[in-house]
Symmetry: C2
Subunit: 357 residues, 2 copies
Amino acid sequence: MREIGIEQLDDIARGAGILGTGGGGDPYIGKLLAREAIRRHGPVTVADIDEVPADATVVPVSAMGAPTVLLEKLPSGAEELTALRALEAVLGRPATHIVPIEIGGVNSMIPIAAAAESGLPLVDGDAMGRAFPEAQMVLPTLIGVSTTPMALADDKGNTLVVDAVSNLWSERIARSACVEMGCQVSCADTVLRGDQLRDGLVPATLTLAEDLGRAVRLARHEHADPVAAARDLLGGTRLLTGKVIDVERRTSGGFARGQASLEGLGADAGRTLRLNFQNEHLLATRDGEVVATTPDLICVLDTETGEPVTTENMRYGLRVTVIAAPCDPRWTTPAGLALAGPRYFGYDCDHVPLTLA
Amino acid sequence: MREIGIEQLDDIARGAGILGTGGGGDPYIGKLLAREAIRRHGPVTVADIDEVPADATVVPVSAMGAPTVLLEKLPSGAEELTALRALEAVLGRPATHIVPIEIGGVNSMIPIAAAAESGLPLVDGDAMGRAFPEAQMVLPTLIGVSTTPMALADDKGNTLVVDAVSNLWSERIARSACVEMGCQVSCADTVLRGDQLRDGLVPATLTLAEDLGRAVRLARHEHADPVAAARDLLGGTRLLTGKVIDVERRTSGGFARGQASLEGLGADAGRTLRLNFQNEHLLATRDGEVVATTPDLICVLDTETGEPVTTENMRYGLRVTVIAAPCDPRWTTPAGLALAGPRYFGYDCDHVPLTLA
């Protein structure tokens, strides 16, 4: 057991921004929420997966919606507890632990806020090991755990509880309601028992996010290469260093979708890289060749500072470096690829194993 | 207390088809469901409003969606009980009575089926005294009763419980989920206590539907004018006898919307009538003048047989007579008109009191 206080939030948010592969929303917004919650309720106790009792009721709490909307419509901090209480009411038992559904952007921070507000311990791990855009794209789906009952709460006070026949249906129904509720809702769903955490979570990703955020910060302070620090810690590879020359973006079906074009600078002069995204970066095509795909991590970092660049913050002229890093190995199984591989998203290509330097 | 058996269904369905003002779905489909339920479970006990105990839990059960979809996607008869059970679970108490939310088309029949299947008595009345397209357009809204918790169930086994801050929000959220669930779901919502029935329901509308259906049938058998029989029983007026010369129809936002143009025949030769509908007929314009509007009833009947013609069954060449009849007086109060008057639906006109012959 350890604690997360206000002083850890910057590093966790930075690291989770990188692990969020462009999605999960601007971590700055989530950080404001988590900081305010810790300021009011005190630090959050963090439990390793091994420390959670087998019969624990572990509840992921998150935000659903388009990060482009989140930028303009900040959650108040009350909705996630409303969603949690609505879920507990249908479960008929209280949550014993909070856990992030994904270790990306705002969704790394909202569980910290929810843990502080509810006084429950936070589990060090998440259900993706990165961020994915759709609610069924979680390891629990691979082990037959339902994402429902799924409780949604909006900023107006409306709540919704979905009970679906499949995790794909719960995503479809919740997403359409989410769009109607203003494209930004808080969720509590995908309840795990303590003895399901080993198979249902990627362990220690809060710690990884903090390590990553710290490594980038320290490299910057020491005038070393912050992007290289992140790449090394993730065991990844550099795809391109360059600048953003075009971004197409639209908010459709409750997602921020689009693509960004980069041209290389320095050693990469003359090269191009295209990124396709649906909240998260899903496909990287360099000089016409697909070099990285979902479910591997495709991360865009500010070349100078190593700060993560979310898809909704991509804009012309930004100097960025794109790195790719291997996902949790459960995602590259046939079942994992069927759930979150490039073909699910409509790309006409198979998963390309990363060429690691 | 009396009973509804299979032998009453034809008259009730016909009468409810007329009271449904073109909406509520083809009553034939609902009749199949109700007949099958009564065949398997026996006749349904009907209670007058006065016979319901003050502390009763009275639950409207209905279908939500576009009648154009209902035509092709028949409910199985199981969904309405699933919705009822999901609602009871969040209420924490069982329903004691079933009641129609509207006395229109399929939604007059589904409560009969639900009453037979659940073994609960059916209350003789409904929350509109006609059919309206949106869930907040019920008398309970006018007396401050929430339509939520609202339970929805689809044909695939998905359920949803909405808890909203207003009846308009519950309609918006449920409608968007309904569209995603296939534009056709079963609902249980707008729970009334026994002592709220007098203000929350139009009384005896099941009996009215049966009387209306019988009057049309008997007039036809006696070679009298079945349309005149319906008009007289409703205290209404004839707007036009003619034929349908054009129908524009689209299924959008979970509704069947459009307009129909009629030209007069016989004594009405040379006259025209335009009907605008959103599931239900909402506006009748004769020779360029608005002569009847929602919330009054605008009913289209086959001129020859007196059978109701639903909006999705309107087609070129049909010989029909359009009648208009006054709605329950609570709908023409300022609050009633704000909820279901022509301006709510976007028509640039006020409610036109009917000119009764």
